[in-house]
């Protein structure tokens, strides 16, 4: 459109047509925009507003100053990010080889394998979390078998701590990484790899110079989804963390019970939202977000 604009004597008409078309497109989009406004922008704005109300209902910064004066809040945010980073990292270490393996298999076998990835995805999160508790506890299956087999003598602590939390979260998050990554890997044209070999690259350098860069949009998309979902996680750390791994969502829940106003919990939500947006912005400095979420050209 831009190319034909402003040429010859039809310029005005063309410009008007262009304007009308943009308006029509905007009109078509408006239900979606309205929906986002109603279900996202307004509640988030209300949340931010409430967070500035003190216990007496007046404007106050007490909900924010509390977060600075009480050291526990900072520690809870650090734990939240720590758990999210580590879960994302472990998911990449496990998920990348898995997705690569799946993408190289013939379609029929890959589909069967994919079901094994998706099956836990369709099982309730609570059920899976409690299943891990049963498996990992002191007299659970893992410890019992390992001691039977002589792998270790005393039951080891693999639940009610950070280890247990990470095991549970990685298990739950893995499909979120594998699915976009798999899609991205399937889209890589195999002829590129053949061309690389033809030009003398060994398999390792062909992989790193051709395949890996082409799979990164899916990888980053998966990492981003996993990371952001982790930030708001509640059930798994609450059950597998033994009360010692405290994440922001848990603190939000306890603040709702504890304080007479919603502000104490809202302020935590606002800070988490700002930090998440900050993390996305930081990511956008290094990778193109629109490419990751699929809106790019």
């Amino acid at each position: 459109m831009a190319a034909i604009e402003g040429t010859g004597m039809n310029a005005d008409g063309l410009r008007r047509d262009g304007f009308l078309e943009r308006m029509k497109l905007f009109g078509l989009c408006s239900p979606a925009i309205l929906l986002v406004l109603v279900i996202l922008v307004i509640p988030a704005g209300w949340l931010a507003y409430v967070s500035f109300l003190g216990a007496d209902g007046q404007f106050s910064m007490e909900n924010y100053s509390r977060m600075i004066s009480r050291k526990s809040y900072m520690r809870i945010f650090i734990t939240t990010f720590e758990v999210s980073f580590m879960t994302t990292g472990i998911c990449v270490l496990i998920g990348y080889p898995l997705a690569y393996f799946l993408s190289q298999l013939p379609a029929r076998i890959a589909n069967i394998c994919m079901i094994t990835v998706l099956l836990p995805f369709w099982t309730s999160l609570l059920v899976r979390t409690y299943a891990w508790l049963v498996l990992l506890q002191k007299k659970g299956l893992v410890n019992t078998f390992a001691i039977e087999l002589g792998l270790w003598d005393e039951p080891i602590k693999i639940v009610h701590n950070m280890t247990g939390t990470l095991i549970g979260m990685v298990h739950i998050m893995l499909p979120f990484l594998v699915l976009p990554l798999y899609a991205s890997m399937k889209a890589v044209n195999r002829d590129y790899m053949k061309a690389a070999s033809n030009l003398g690259a060994n398999p390792v350098s062909a992989f790193w110079t051709i395949f890996f860069p082409l799979s990164t949009p899916g990888l980053f998309a998966g990492m981003l989804i996993v990371f952001v979902l982790c930030l708001g996680f509640y059930v798994t750390p609450a059950v597998l963390g033994g009360g010692k791994v405290i994440m922001v969502s848990m603190k939000i829940a306890s603040n709702i019970e504890l304080f007479v106003n919603w502000g104490a919990a809202s302020a935590l939500g606002v800070v988490l939202l700002v930090l998440t947006i900050g993390a996305l912005w930081l990511t956008s400095r290094f990778v193109r977000l629109e490419q990751i979420v699929g809106g790019g050209h």
Partner: protein
């Protein structure tokens, strides 16, 4: 035709009005599970049968639900079961109706088991429980023993919330039960209790968050000793768990019934509370769960099982061993103490 229609409409409206007036009903929300089942069988259903007040039961998520209903002006609940501490705070916040003690007879209640906004429904204890496979029947006999990892080596579990968590620490630190709340009435006192918990923290494997959880921890043998609510341990024992507990130095606490501000059937609710507070219903509660009646007269009521009665937290012999939880302290200090407790947990 038009007139006939109008007449029908009027008749229908009148009929609705009449039926609403004759069939009194209350909506009661409690915590669900074996606890609500016990309340329903011992209190709600018999009282409903006797008074003709229809009872609708629901479960709810606690006083934050009540706050939401009251603040939005959409109150659907007439009676809620609540912990004493949260009821006290909700009352102070203006979320509850003041109870009419001319109507509800509390003359035979333990005096500490009722308050302006909430009338006691059952009594429970926060006790220390131990694994009998690890320590035998003669486990720890005081909070000092609970803290003594030389005499009783093994893993502990402790509450993840401040409620009921500071008092034991102070008693373990040598404070006499009657002085506990005096000492706790300053930030230094709270810090002293927290320091005592910090001392035990390396031996605490789990900070539990629910009654079901601490019962399960004992059932699975995941820890050797834990704090918790006596009724849960009795039920775990029935299921075959190797667990025992003692009432010595335990915390005597109660659950109560309150009426949310602006409840649709407030007057009926008040009548219903008066009914279920009577000894004849309270005496049946221990048949379904080992929480004690708040009405002392229930212990003399003919239908109570005397053998079971002796094991209940509010039995006079057991009650005298325990420290009654001070609701006033919680109303004043819980928020601050909870924040300080969280600091200790996240260290």
């Amino acid at each position: 035709m038009k007139q006939k229609l109008l007449a029908t409409a009027v008749a229908a409206t009148m009929a609705m009005g009449v039926s609403a007036a004759s069939a009194d009903s209350v909506t009661i929300a409690s915590w669900g599970g074996s606890y609500q089942e016990a309340q329903s069988k011992a209190l709600f259903q018999p009282a409903s049968a006797k008074t003709g007040i229809e009872v609708k039961e629901e479960t709810y998520g606690g006083m934050s639900d009540v706050r939401l209903q009251v603040q939005t002006g959409a109150v659907t609940l007439d009676i809620v079961a609540s912990g004493s501490g949260s009821a006290s705070r909700a009352g102070a916040e203006g979320l509850l109706e003041e109870l009419d003690y001319n109507l509800i007879d509390v003359s035979t209640f333990y005096p500490t088991l009722k308050m302006k906004y909430c009338v006691g429904g059952d009594v429970f204890s926060t006790v220390y429980a131990w694994n009998t496979a690890t320590y035998g029947e003669n486990g720890p006999q005081s909070w000092a023993d609970f803290w003594d990892v030389e005499k009783f080596p093994g893993k502990r579990a402790y509450r993840g919330k401040v409620s009921g968590a500071l008092e034991p620490a102070l008693m373990a630190d040598g404070v006499a039960p009657e002085d506990v709340y005096k000492v706790l009435s300053s930030e230094e006192g709270i810090e002293r209790a927290l320091d005592k918990i910090r001392e035990l923290k390396p031996h605490i494997d789990v900070f539990w968050s629910s009654g079901a959880q601490h019962a399960q921890l004992m059932k699975d043998g995941e820890v050797d000793m834990t704090t918790g609510w006596n009724g849960r341990f009795d039920n775990a024992k029935k299921d075959g768990a190797k667990v025992a507990y003692s009432f010595n130095q335990a915390l005597l606490d109660y659950d109560c019934f309150a009426i949310p501000k602006g409840a649709p059937n407030k007057d009926t609710a008040m009548k219903f509370l008066a009914e279920i507070s009577k000894a004849e219903y309270q005496a049946n509660l221990p048949k379904y769960i080992t929480y004690g009646p708040t009405n002392k007269a229930a212990y003399d009521y003919p239908t109570i099982d005397q053998e079971v009665a002796k094991t209940l937290p509010s039995h006079p012999d057991n009650a005298k061993l325990q420290l009654p939880v001070d609701i006033e302290w919680y109303a004043k200090w819980e928020t601050i103490a909870a924040e300080m407790y969280q600091e200790m947990l996240t260290e």
